[in-house]
Subunit: 586 residues, 2 copies
């Protein structure tokens, strides 16, 4: 037996007991005859005192350095009153060492464990096993465990079954982002790794499993981002005999109870606010708006229908719009600062940024475009935007998608600069009524906005043939603090409707048969109405942990830089392996 | 809302209630004016009665066929006394239909749902979503869910954290059975899919996570068997500051409590019997013996040291042995039957099979070899084998591994023929003291019996240099009813010991650095003593479900035959995809 207690366990009630501890040397204070070691494990830190009476143990303490692994037998005693540490669970006691041995020494670690440094992320990834010893990383991984455990317990309680679906699935021609896996047993053939178990979970509904979930690993062969990794984990769910409201209600309960259990100090507004897709774009310029703050987009188009200002005039004449943001208290921005904002807006696709400042001293409005406006237009704008003295007005005139993208960027930027978002609020919201399809200009065809199994809304079925762009889908996105936390939909369960959508998407019957024949066939054998959702676990844990990249909540993430790290990236294979692959390129 | 209750929910207390049900038509009895439908979902079956008073509903019932999906509004009423079905949870009530609609029709299904047929497995796999509707398959998948849920709850309770490790890992040259995954983002480079998270979980121990587990998907690019799929699921575990006994005790408690919870009707002998590897091979010819029955191998070598019978004599002279089985009550076997057994033993590697029959009538022993034996040898054999009148004795003389393999095959065969194994017993056992390394004749080198991270036993360390074949490992296998249910070991945690083992295995320092450098380095930064185990979930659920192939406990298994099934096997990729892979074969 290596230990009788963990390093986080001993309390006043253990005083007088003889105990055995094992752990890492966290800190060491050498006062000659008296040596203090803080012994650390996942559960906490215990102070161990070595005096010269137990010479052997004292020698071990003398030789030990940070991160040595020690086993210590000792007696628990009260700390002197002045040494009590109220921040530590074990802060009222210390262990008087009687015996000690080094289980494993440690070289000087390339990163400090006891203190977060500013070291390069490459070093943190290379020595991930050291980085993961840090208290913050342990807290994050424990939080992740708790979050997923809670989800499982909740769904089990609700009658869901967790069913494993294959990781090696059939590759389909449309899978541009699929990882392909050559088979050695079937030379020249490939598996694909799933981007999600979408079709498989629908087949489980056809099979009558009624309520399915899976903490599912999914894969996309594409570039990394702070909130995206080539493999990611989602809470994949599907339910039969439900409509949109059933899924929404269940998920809402799940996340409310989850937050209460794992991050009780956070504030979760309920019920989750709901926005339509059109409303979200109009008010926030985004289909995943952060609702922790206002700073809404203000439409000025109707005020400027007759403006002489050519930029606004042309935008409106071409079906565009003029919208703006009123930034409180930023009227003191310099020309240079405003120029930087213009560049920033241009990255978002805008051709320019009109600005106006309402001076704090109540003077005349200064602006980049005032002189071009017609009579009374500036005061109408100031009034519409409810601008106060000292405010900065930023205005974009362009096609609606450009206006939305540019102002969304600016809105997020100012939320950060002005610290508008309460870090202790988790604002879950629903975005509803997505369009079913959108026109793909390049390919001159309709594309599915979600995926081709999403059901159209009943009320819009009559538009399928005549005005497909107007058909709303039974699709719903869960949004959390400005991130998409999960997308879901009610699925098509009837072959005729599925066929109709394939026709609309320009998928020929032959292609439909080749790619989705098994799904079409399954719908002919008693497929129940069904729908689901797939919240992204990495991203949700990231937000709950107050981190800004998902790499901080994954044990072994990948980075493009860290090519030769153990788990970080691919490495070359040798000739023999390539031969064994039997890849037949012609 | 599609339903007020499930099809398994209604009881006598609901009589008089108006309810809405949704489900599949399981059976249908049409008596003209009166139609009975059994409506089925995952939760049960409810009898619905349609009479001609509600004409619209009656019409739906008339048109419905098996596996139609219906929604029915009706009133719960008591069944007539003679119609009560005590085998059905809902057997005391029926629902009088008031309204009905077809949610989705069904074509005639290619397999019966209500009844298990003898149809080809290909058909079952092609229409997996229909096969999965069967009660047995639902029971199996629900059992699987329960088993895994129990494991997670148990381990969470014991302070284990579930931590996800990557599926896309670094490929290493030794990974002959690794699936390789070409990366498009890094052309010419490959990931590998893990055969197990072995190294990653050891790194988590170095990182101080103390108690880790994961329900981990693992991959091996090799042929299928009844108890093996190219992807499989294991309960991957690792603990720090433990020795072998700690792991064994925890796992034993886990499985005892698991069985009590999910298969309470099964008998689990406790504590789990323990055998050394040497003992298991000697007594059962196998390192995974089924201990539900005896039929042990009986060693005759010492009786025959001076035998004139050349076959025995030579085997013993060459370091071999003579061992046999006493098969009760099979003394009536014909010459033809015995010849078949001989062929069977030869598949196991034996060159022949000596047999003897003790006649049921008490007459002279008949045998294939008696005339070659020396004085008293036959009676010594009969006595040693405790043969009774009517028994059949089967004897193999050869090298120990051949004797073991042949007699293990025969032992299993007769256990089946004679139904020796109690189907309601789950006999877990431990096989201990495996050798650390074994001599690889072909390559003329020592190979690791488990894997190169397994620790040698302290008592045998002095043999590492002088007699490595005698060194026992801190390795333990969990065996269940004759299957390997999981292998584990205490790992090496010191760099010097790891280096010593690599040297023994003929891994040069350069190769060790290239393949395992990250592990060797990690051991230098305070690696704690640690060990673990990885029970195979597919196989354990298979045994708990009384199935004989793991395909019956997986939702979407793979078969070599079913190449064009959705989830079953690889499919060809097109030229475009191959191009995108950038596989540079030159």
């Amino acid at each position: 037996m290596f230990r009788s207690h963990t390093c986080g366990e001993l309390r006043t009630e253990h005083i007088g007991h003889e105990v055995t501890l094992a752990g890492w040397v966290h800190r060491r204070r050498d006062h000659g005859e008296l040596i203090f070691l803080d012994l650390r494990d996942r559960y906490g830190i215990t102070q161990v005192v070595f005096d010269s009476i137990t010479a052997m143990a004292h020698k071990v303490a003398e030789e030990s350095r940070s991160e040595y692994v020690l086993q210590i037998r000792g007696r628990v005693r009260a700390r002197p009153a002045e040494a009590v540490n109220p921040h530590l669970g074990t802060g009222t006691i210390e262990v008087e060492a009687l015996e000690a041995q080094v289980l494993n020494p440690s070289r000087t670690t390339p990163i400090y464990i006891a203190q977060e440094g500013g070291e390069d992320e490459m070093i943190r990834l290379k020595y991930r096993y050291l980085d993961l010893r840090r208290e913050r990383m342990q807290r994050n991984l424990i939080l992740r465990h708790r979050v997923i455990k809670f989800m499982r317990d909740f769904l089990d309680e609700e009658g869901f079954l967790e069913i494993e679906t294959p990781i090696l699935i059939k590759s389909t021609p449309e899978g541009a982002r699929d990882y392909l896996v050559p088979s050695r047993v079937h030379p020249g053939k490939f598996y694909a790794l799933p981007q999600s178990p979408q079709q498989l979970k629908q087949l489980l509904m056809v099979a009558g499993y009624d309520r399915y979930f899976q903490v599912a690993r999914c894969f996309r062969d594409e570039d990394l981002r702070a909130d995206r990794q080539p493999e990611f984990t989602q809470l994949d769910m599907e339910m039969s005999f439900v409509d949109q409201e059933d899924v929404i209600q269940l998920i809402e309960r799940l996340f409310i109870e989850l937050c209460r259990a794992v991050v009780p100090h956070k504030h979760v507004p309920t019920p989750f606010p709901r926005l339509t897709y059109a409303e979200a774009l109009a008010r926030y310029g985004s289909d995943k708006p952060d609702l922790r703050y206002g700073l809404e987009l203000i439409n000025l188009s109707d005020l400027l229908m007759a403006t002489p200002f050519q930029v606004f005039q042309q935008a409106l004449a071409n079906g565009g719009e003029v919208k703006g943001l009123c930034i409180p208290g930023c009227g003191s921005y310099s020309r240079k600062q405003i120029d930087e904002l213009t560049e920033f807006a241009k990255i978002g696709g805008a051709r320019g940024l009109a600005w106006a400042i309402v001076p704090a001293d109540g003077g005349e409005v200064r602006s980049s475009f005032g002189k071009n406006l017609g009579e009374g237009e500036m005061s109408a704008i100031v009034e519409r935007m409810a601008a106060q003295p000292g405010d900065l007005l930023l205005i974009v005139a362009d096609q609606p998608t450009v206006v939305a993208a540019a102002l969304d960027r600016l809105r997020r930027e100012f939320a950060q600069r002005l610290k508008l978002a309460d870090p202790n609020t988790l604002n879950f919201s629903w975005v509803l009524d997505f369009p079913l399809v959108e026109w793909n200009e390049d390919e001159a065809r309709w594309d599915a906005v979600h995926h081709p199994f999403t059901a159209p809304q009943d009320a819009d079925m009559h538009l399928m043939a005549t005005d497909p762009g107007k058909v709303r889908a039974k699709a719903y996105d869960l949004v959390l603090n400005g991130y998409e936390a999960g997308g879901g939909s009610i699925r098509i369960h009837r072959r005729d409707v599925q066929q109709q959508l394939f026709d609309l998407l320009g998928i020929t019957p032959e292609l439909a048969q080749a790619q989705f024949g098994h799904m079409l066939e399954a719908f002919e054998y008693g497929a129940p109405p069904h729908g689901g959702i797939a919240p992204g676990i990495d991203r949700i844990v990231m937000i709950l942990a107050d981190e800004s990249t998902i790499r901080e909540v994954m044990a072994f993430p990948k980075t493009q830089q860290a090519v030769d790290l153990m788990t970080a990236a691919p490495s070359p294979v040798d000739e023999r392996q390539l031969k064994e692959l039997h890849i037949n390129l012609r």
